[in-house]
């Protein structure tokens, strides 16, 4: 799709990032084995991999929920490795797999959005919801086409999973994050709702111009949306495929790469898989 200037500072950069859980104990688990990744602003990277491949660990290390054993995390060129998650929130927006995680169910739609409006900024002794902010909220909610702009006072807990996940997406987009993390955010939705939230994802990712990392189990979604597809396995990136390569791939080809990802996969075998898919 778009060409990216390699000399430009990437919006998100991981350097030799290793994550070790329960280090030094007999049941030690290495979740990431030295990941290198640079995502320029405006690029949407989709990530696939089997369970335990390290997808969620990568999301967590970018969000700051987990600190790496070694390696560096940079956002917009700035080293944020040692910053806890709440101090990165101004740069990083997250949408969780569970629709209930991204919003506060007891609070109204407008209160949830107001919380996101100040993401990363200082919380002041100033009214959280002002008439001006309400206008902005209505505008943003209207993009969803769900009629939520007229339900600002309703409790989020009374909305459906799809509506809540859509609101979480809007919340993530408020405050223009440099990095947008989507951790299987369609997993809990029914197919029709997932489709709608997926379209919204594509639209927001395009408008925001942030570096977007989207973890998914759905190969079709991964191929359709990604400017670039990462295949992960055993805590490593086993394949890093640009749009030019994935355009011709079918979901079955990606599955094949996944299955063979016990070992690292060479570009040649991938090309072979791609050609096999076309014939």
């Amino acid at each position: 799709m778009t060409d990216y200037d390699p000399t430009e500072t990437p919006a998100l950069e991981l350097q030799h990032v290793r994550i070790v859980h329960r280090a030094g104990r007999p049941d030690e688990v290495v979740a990431l084995r030295g990941i290198d990744l640079a995502v320029p602003a405006g690029q949407l990277v989709t990530v696939v991999g089997s369970n335990g491949a390290g997808k969620s660990s990568m999301i967590q290390v970018v969000s700051g929920a987990v600190r790496p054993a070694s390696g560096r995390v940079r956002i917009g060129g700035r080293d944020v490795t040692r910053r806890p998650d709440w101090r990165r929130a101004g740069d990083v927006a997250r949408v969780f797999d569970d629709p209930r995680k991204g919003t506060a169910p007891e609070l109204s739609v407008e209160d949830n959005l107001a919380l996101a409006l100040r993401r990363g900024g200082r919380r002041r002794l100033w009214p959280a919801v002002t008439p001006r902010r309400r206008v902005l909220m209505r505008e943003q909610l209207a993009r969803l086409g769900l009629g939520l702009e007229d339900r600002l006072h309703e409790e989020v807990g009374s909305l459906s999973a799809g509506q809540r996940q859509s609101i979480t997406m809007i919340m993530a987009a408020l405050g223009a994050p440099r990095v947008l993390l989507l951790d299987e955010h369609l997993a809990a939705l029914d197919p029709a709702t997932a489709r709608r939230v997926l379209d919204l994802t594509a639209e927001l990712a395009r408008d925001l111009g942030s570096a977007t990392v989207m973890v998914t189990h759905n190969m079709e979604h991964a191929l359709e949306l990604g400017d670039r597809l990462l295949v992960m396995g055993g805590g490593r990136v086993v394949a890093d495929l640009p749009r030019a390569l994935t355009r011709a791939m079918a979901p079955a080809d990606v599955v094949e790469v996944l299955v063979s990802s016990g070992e690292s996969v060479s570009d040649r075998s991938l090309l072979a898989a791609t050609e096999a898919g076309e014939s």
Binding site: S63, D85, W86, R87, R88, A89, G90, A93, R94, F96, R100, K101, G102, T103, A104, P105, E106, L107, S108, E110, D111, N112, A114, L115, A116, R118, R119, G120, G121, R123, R124, L125, W126, P127, A128, V129, H153, E155, G157, S158, L159, S160, A161, R164, M171
Partner: protein, 311 residues
């Protein structure tokens, strides 16, 4: 009957700020802070000693607030630096506060008979009348409730309201959990100190044991209020109304029990009973209400299942 109402208001209004603090930690933060038992006695003691030494009643009120805030910060620091759960940290602080309060007052009971109060500072000797006392208490309590509601509607207050329900989401929005712990405990115990000072000035004495049972009584009053108003996180006006009405209702029950001849020694039992009944009614009414109002919504049902159980 009018005597019943007068007694309810005179003994109940000073407790409104205290139970507002209990509401803040219990319902908004979804945590238990037992510091209030200690900070209530501390605030009362500080207020009494200052007045007994000839300082103004308003200054004594302020000092009681400051002492309460300090107590809350101590509990918060125990929680944050040593990872002691807030329940236990509060218990430890309130235990220590017994000794601190006794040091400050120098004797278990400080009498303020004939001393200045906030009411006499405005009305002179007439300020010892019930009507004048109630008027002053009502104004102070109204100011506290309005200020608290306004605070909850600020960006900071909003973060606080969200944090009890979904801490992970609040962190993802860039709010420090640690900051909120300090803020909520300081605020809650500051309110407790204020209420204790008001209580001491209307009762005419302070006692080192006056805080015992404050927490449980507060929970009972809060639950009564919640039962009546059913506030959710975004209904700020309902939150403060629930605390006001819950407190007065709870005091009304106690005063009423005394009036019909229940011995004073049984009052703690009645407090405990009120709490149990409030919890029972809460459970029963909540199930009944969701069944009535949202018969088809599956999300509201799943939200109420405890964390970790498959839904």
């Amino acid at each position: 009957m009018s005597g019943l109402l007068t007694d309810t208001l005179i003994t109940g209004l000073p407790l409104v700020p205290v139970y507002l603090g209990v509401y803040l930690v219990l319902r908004i933060r979804e945590d238990f802070d037992l510091t209030v038992e200690g900070s209530f006695a501390l605030g009362g003691g500080v207020c009494a000693v200052l007045i007994a030494h000839g300082h103004g009643p308003w200054l004594a009120l302020l000092a009681a607030v400051v002492s309460g805030v300090a107590a809350g910060v101590v509990t918060a620091c125990l929680n944050l630096t040593l990872d002691i759960p807030v329940v236990l940290a509060g218990l430890v602080t309130s235990l220590a506060l017994f000794s601190v309060t006794l040091r400050i007052t120098g004797q278990p009971t400080v009498s303020l008979v004939g001393a200045d109060t906030v009411a006499t500072s405005l009305f002179g000797e007439a300020g010892r009348g019930d009507a004048q006392q109630i008027a002053v208490l009502a104004v102070v309590v109204a100011l506290v409730l309005v200020a608290f509601a306004a605070f909850l509607m600020t960006e900071l207050g909003l973060a606080l309201r969200a944090s009890g329900v979904n801490a992970e989401m609040v962190r993802a929005q860039g709010v420090s959990e640690r900051g909120l712990v300090v803020l909520s405990l300081a605020l809650s115990n500051g309110l407790t100190g204020l209420g204790a000072a008001l209580a001491v000035q209307t009762m005419g004495y302070a006692d080192v044991n006056m805080g015992v049972g404050t927490f449980v009584a507060g929970v009972g009053a809060v639950l009564l209020g919640v039962l009546v108003f059913r506030p959710t996180g975004s209904q700020v006006a309902r939150i403060v109304l629930a605390v006001l009405v819950g407190t007065l209702l709870y005091r009304f029950l106690l005063v009423g029990a005394l009036r019909i001849g229940v011995p004073a020694g049984d009052l703690k039992g009645i407090t405990a009973l009120t709490l149990v009944i409030a919890v029972a009614a809460q459970r029963f009414a909540r199930i009944g209400l969701t069944a009535l109002t949202r018969p088809t919504s599956s999300t509201s049902a799943s939200v109420q299942t405890p964390e970790g159980t498959p839904t």
